[in-house]
Symmetry: D2
């Protein structure tokens, strides 16, 4: 469950056919892309889109991904992804995710991604203040 | 431009980061997936979701894809895809698509996909009546 | 069939599970990526890898894609992609492709992609001479 | 480093353009597909292709994925993926992976995937003996 003490962004979308595989379910790599969509949505909701972050000269590189698969999702189901910041650090952060079937409320997948902040020359740098404020 | 004399479904979504490539733009194969999303949306709007079509024992196999790339799309841009049936035949159909940047109204990509209707044993079969009515 | 009068590059690889969809076959967008692999292989065989082309300040943007799907491919099958230049023009070129099942020799998919040559500022430019020589 | 005391399969392939993103590097979700390729290759080398496993009525569902990203890979680089079984259990197994740049020997990504064995009715079942022997 998303923690009560911090901002959690939720977005919903339907599973695309191209995201399924020959098992008839969503391919496990597709959820990594859903997590990324969760982060994009989170940043947009907080008022500082990731596309703007890159324009400002920062990149959020992924250093770690952990995923647990609980129940499979199928084509055309609407899913909801809850995204929040698990931990903020001076040069990086950890996002957590929970993906559920919107209508049935089944928990499908949980995960975390760790990131470091890079500048334009790919050097590790401090997380911009506007971002750090997200964790307050 | 979508024709005035027939049903056109429109859906919008934002470009995902995973859909871009090292040129900094949406990879050209991603639009094929957008077209598929357009078809899914069309079928849902017409009241007969493609997931239901498959449950009823039909498949809409792709036999041809044609795409023209006019302007590149970028991460985070909201795009609109207009989808309509170009031609209905007894055992198949042709969908047409127009993808535009929602805010700027730039035309980005146009295309067509041809399909044949298969039954569960992968034999070509007549398009179900509920579908054929879409072209009226 | 690839034409006898010009250079044709062939590369083979196995279908990945992630490239299949819930129909149990290779998703139709995956072939666009196979075509791209065919082009990469063609350029490498001709001695001027596409990665080098980009380092030299050129991009080969895709302006058109046409695909015909004849037979579906399945997970783990080894496929062969034949790639050749259909037409060379001063500022672009057309590649043609034929994808077959390596062992069974079944023709699976054919297609063409049209490209224009861009420089670093995204302006249409003349195809570099080293490339134009490919069509001789 | 892959352990010395057990079978390790290695396969190599080049990074595809479609696998890169707007950062100019391989998108982090692409490595999950590389891991899957590593498993496919491992099973094939051990003489029991995963496609055969599925024909025999078994599925190897993914329950967990953990990835560490050390260095980015770029388009056209040849990479090597080493795959081995970390742990074999009665109803599942854990695979480990190491992805390196073939020429430069740089370690790029490491990871693990956990799996459970399902039968055709999606019930958890014992890993077939032919597979269990892999861990000896």
């Amino acid at each position: 469950m998303p923690p009560q003490d911090r901002y959690t962004a939720k977005n919903t979308f339907r599973v695309r056919y191209a995201e399924t595989d020959a098992m008839g379910i969503v391919h496990h790599a597709s959820y990594i892309v859903y997590f990324e969509e969760g982060r994009s949505h989170y940043a947009r909701e907080r008022g500082y889109a990731y596309s703007q972050i890159e324009k400002d000269g920062y990149f959020l590189a992924v250093t770690q991904v952990n995923v647990r698969y609980i129940k499979p999702a199928h084509y055309d189901r609407e899913i909801t992804i809850a995204t929040w910041i698990e931990q903020m650090q001076s040069r990086g952060m950890t996002f957590s995710y929970e993906i559920t079937d919107t209508e049935r409320c089944d928990l499908l997948v949980t995960g975390q991604t760790k990131h470091i902040c890079l500048d334009k020359s790919s050097k590790v740098t401090r997380v911009p203040n506007v971002w750090r404020a997200w964790a307050d």
